[in-house]
């Protein structure tokens, strides 16, 4: 059986498997030639990638309902992590956080039943009013403005944006595109994560000129541009998962690399504010869940509207 005869999903699974096997072999050989803490860290990270890829592929492919629950859970854990590291939360905010958590199943229900308008307005309109209102009802105005801005922002970063990944599965079927929303989901998640890896790798190999040293000392122009070009090439090669023309896929790669970088540095800056390097210890070698989905928090909604306006909005 030749590669072109497989379905798009199977081709993509082979690509993911290939990348992981390649990385594992490479670091194993590197560890044999020149053992050291750096190689060990790369090996730990790769092992975590195996785990994350397995969980993600299972969640994305088994059944749509499982995908929605899994992404809802991802939003939940990310929101929980973000509210722990934000040290300026007040004790009075507890009751409001309860409402914020309730917003997660509501948002994913809208996504599952493809109620697009409700999905779109629920957090930026309804929760944007409801959260400050509940805070006001508590009656403590000391530092209330900070809580009013922080909690809706956390909801936007972890729930609104990530739920767009799940909504890809609720998009109507396109003629001539058999993979459907799943292909788009695999495409944007794979490219965003690979963009992080590309930026990291190019930065380690060639990095000289820092972009924003005060926020993220490891981000260099060489890493960013190397990552951008690599991601564009990958986006072009993987366009069989999407309805994109060759030109559109190049633009999608550009968009994912650019917005992924934006998400990464936004979360880095939040962490800096609270004096942390990583947001947690949930994934070995990677820090917290948030450290892995920071780029997705921005690239997911941008990619969603990119493909939506090009191919779904009539």
């Amino acid at each position: 059986m030749r590669f072109e005869h497989l379905t798009a999903i199977h081709q993509m699974l082979l690509v993911i498997l290939g990348v992981l096997v390649f990385a594992s072999c490479l670091f194993w050989i590197m560890g044999r030639i020149q053992p050291g803490p750096q190689v060990t860290e790369l090996q730990t990270r790769t092992r975590s990638w195996w785990m994350m890829a397995t969980v993600f592929v299972t969640a994305a492919l088994v059944h749509p309902l499982i995908t929605f629950i899994a992404f809802g859970f991802l939003s939940f854990v990310a929101f929980r992590e973000l509210s722990r590291i934000s040290k300026n939360a007040r004790p009075e905010d507890r009751g409001v956080l309860f409402w914020a958590y309730l917003a997660i199943p509501v948002q994913y229900t809208f996504a599952y039943f493809a109620w697009f308008d409700a999905f779109l307005m629920f957090i930026p309109v309804v929760m944007f009013a409801w959260i400050p209102f509940v805070l006001v009802l508590k009656g403590h105005t000391q530092d209330i403005a900070r809580s009013m801005s922080v909690i809706p922002t956390h909801l936007m970063l972890t729930v609104f944006s990530i739920s767009h990944l799940a909504y890809l599965l609720s998009l109507p079927e396109l003629k001539g595109l058999e993979v459907g929303g799943r292909g788009l989901l695999l495409y944007v998640v794979f490219l965003t994560e690979m963009n992080d890896v590309f930026q990291f790798t190019w930065g380690k190999l060639l990095g000289r000129h820092k972009i924003i040293e005060k926020v993220s000392p490891n981000k260099t122009w060489e890493g960013f541009l190397g990552g951008l070009i690599s991601t564009i090439i990958a986006a072009f090669l993987l366009r069989f998962l999407t309805p994109f023309s060759a030109f559109e896929s190049v633009m999608a790669g550009l968009l994912i690399a650019g917005t992924g970088f934006v998400g990464d540095v936004i979360v880095s800056a939040i962490k800096r504010d609270f004096g942390l390097k990583d947001t947690g210890t949930a994934i070995k070698g990677h820090g917290g869940i948030l450290d892995r989905i920071d780029s997705l928090a921005i690239s997911a909604p941008f990619f969603f509207y990119f493909v939506y306006f090009l191919h779904y909005a009539s």
Binding site: F76, R80, E81, S83, R84, P91, R94, G95, L97, F98, Y101, L276, G280, T281
Partner: protein
């Protein structure tokens, strides 16, 4: 039977529930495999007891008893029965100053039988993230049994999930850190109390985040 029931309650139901709420338990493998031992922890929430019970070794769980205030959990026969059935508690009278002699005798008898006690020397849950003065009961018990180890536990953030006086659970990341089993060195009540307190506070620095 009791072991099965508590194992079902705490391993199958409680552990996943605590994990979803955001509670992470570290180093529980350091617990001695066999009783008797005394677990001492700081106290901010009812969830503290749940987290400790969920960490106890399976074979021991029916022989592990959280020690709770009779004034609070034993207001009537029904409540007392419930807390024994679900939490395996020993109810004692909470004293503000000198420990109740009869309560000490009861706890002493449990330790002699090889059971384990889960104690919160602060007495009540208090203000979140603030350690209150320790009651001396734990020190008296350890003084009588210098051959029984105590296991210090430090918990952080539990009061954010379920604080004193609140009825709703709000998820929040919290941490339960188990320490190594210690034996007391001193014979003096206030010095034993300091040993216990320092062992708990030392775990504060071990917390990862």
């Amino acid at each position: 039977m009791r072991t099965l029931w508590l194992a079902f309650l705490y391993r199958i139901l409680m552990r996943p529930a605590l994990a979803i709420l955001g509670i992470r338990i570290a180093n529980k493998a350091q617990l001695p495999k066999k009783g008797p031992f005394v677990v001492v922890s700081n106290h901010n929430s009812h969830l503290d007891t749940m987290a400790l019970m969920a960490s106890m070794p399976l074979r021991q769980i029916a022989r592990c008893h959280p020690v709770a205030a009779a004034q609070y959990f034993g207001k009537n026969q029904f409540l007392a029965r419930l807390s024994t059935l679900f939490v395996n508690t020993i109810l004692i009278k909470r004293q503000d100053e000198n420990p109740d002699q009869k309560a000490l005798e009861v706890l002493d008898a449990y330790l002699r039988k090889g059971h384990c006690l889960l104690l919160f020397p602060e007495g009540s849950r208090g203000i979140p993230e603030q350690l209150q003065a320790f009651r001396s009961g734990v020190a008296v018990l350890l003084q009588q049994h210098p051959d029984i180890p105590f296991v210090p536990v430090y918990m952080k953030g539990m009061g954010k999930i379920l604080p004193k006086g609140k009825k709703t659970l709000v998820p929040h990341e919290a941490f339960v850190q188990f320490g190594k089993a210690h034996y007391i060195h001193s014979n003096d009540i206030s010095q034993i109390l300091d040993e216990v307190k320092n062992a708990i506070l030392a775990l504060q620095d071990e917390l990862v985040p």
